[in-house]
């Protein structure tokens, strides 16, 4: 269905999404968006896993990716719970505001 020639593009896309996600973590202040960016990074990893698996004829990539999706979901749940808790304490949803402790 998809030729070996596409592999570099797939890996490139993976890298692109990964770095875009990472860049998002750097430039976004809303913790919810930061979480989304982390999701992007994990997804990028998944693309790489599955692309590799496809061309290695290995099933491990898919299984790994499946696990990653679960992990991502778990992280999001906890992350959003924390965001909610912080919001309840009356704080702005801004990661730059979360710098009470430093040095």
């Amino acid at each position: 269905m998809i030729s070996t020639g596409a592999f570099p593009y797939l890996l490139g896309l993976s890298a692109f999404l990964f770095t875009i996600g990472a860049a998002g973590v750097l430039i976004r202040r809303n913790p919810i968006v930061v979480l989304m960016c982390i999701e992007l990074m994990l997804n990028a990893g998944n693309i790489a896993l599955i692309a590799y698996g496809r061309f290695l004829n290995s099933v491990e990539g898919q299984i790994f990716a499946f696990m990653v999706i679960v992990v991502a979901a778990a992280e999001v749940v906890v992350g959003l719970a924390l965001v909610t808790a912080i919001f309840r304490l009356g704080r702005e949803l801004d990661v730059d505001d979360l710098s009470e402790m430093s040095e």
Binding site: P8, A15, V33, L40, R54, F55, V59, Q62, V77, L80
Partner: protein, 185 residues
């Protein structure tokens, strides 16, 4: 076919940029939905039907709904423009560098030594340790789902069980953290 892939990949990339650059949180979330969906399509194209389904159901479904829900709950009107400070420069430079680096490397199969794509060589070789590598036919037969599921519950049972523990922990944590309690100190 190639065109389809190109379009899907382009959409994924553009929507990812949207996630990062949207001024409104909710737009980011929606962009992410697009990205995730496009990725699921890619999965399908890569012959990973099971993952396609999981991606759609869990990600585009459950996770993104959770996001949207929380956004709606907490700050429906908040506007969050990306901070374009020096960190943005770092980010952009990294994006360009890493993407190009990885692409070029993957494309040219640069290796320090002879030969090309090592994973393939190893996979193809009669390597006694490569117990779980199957022929393309086997992996791709029966829509792949059965293979994946079979492996998931046998060879990869342990990781699979760990994920269950992980989800339980996450659930408990979410409940604990968001529980309103009168029980003060």
């Amino acid at each position: 076919m190639t065109a389809l892939i190109a379009v899907v990949m382009a959409l994924a990339a553009i929507s990812a940029i949207g996630v990062v650059l949207s001024p409104q949180t909710i737009y980011s979330a929606l962009s992410l939905v697009v990205t995730v969906t496009m990725i699921s399509v890619l999965f399908l194209l890569l012959n990973a039907q099971f993952l396609f389904a999981v991606q759609l159901i869990i990600y585009a479904g459950a996770v993104m709904v959770l996001f949207v829900f929380i956004i709606a709950l907490l700050n429906p009107e908040a506007e969050d423009r990306p901070a374009l400070d020096y960190r943005a420069m770092i980010g952009l430079a990294a994006v360009a560098a890493v993407t190009i680096l990885v692409f070029v490397t993957a494309r040219n199969g640069i290796t320090y030594g002879s030969g090309g794509f090592r994973g393939q060589q190893v996979g193809a070789a009669s390597n006694p340790y490569h117990t779980f590598a199957f022929g393309a036919d086997a992996v791709n037969a029966a829509g792949n789902v059965q293979t994946v599921a079979g492996q998931l519950f046998t060879t990869y049972l342990l990781p699979f069980e760990i994920t269950s523990l992980l989800l339980l922990v996450a659930a408990i944590g979410a409940v604990y953290l968001t529980r309103r309690t009168k029980e003060a100190a």
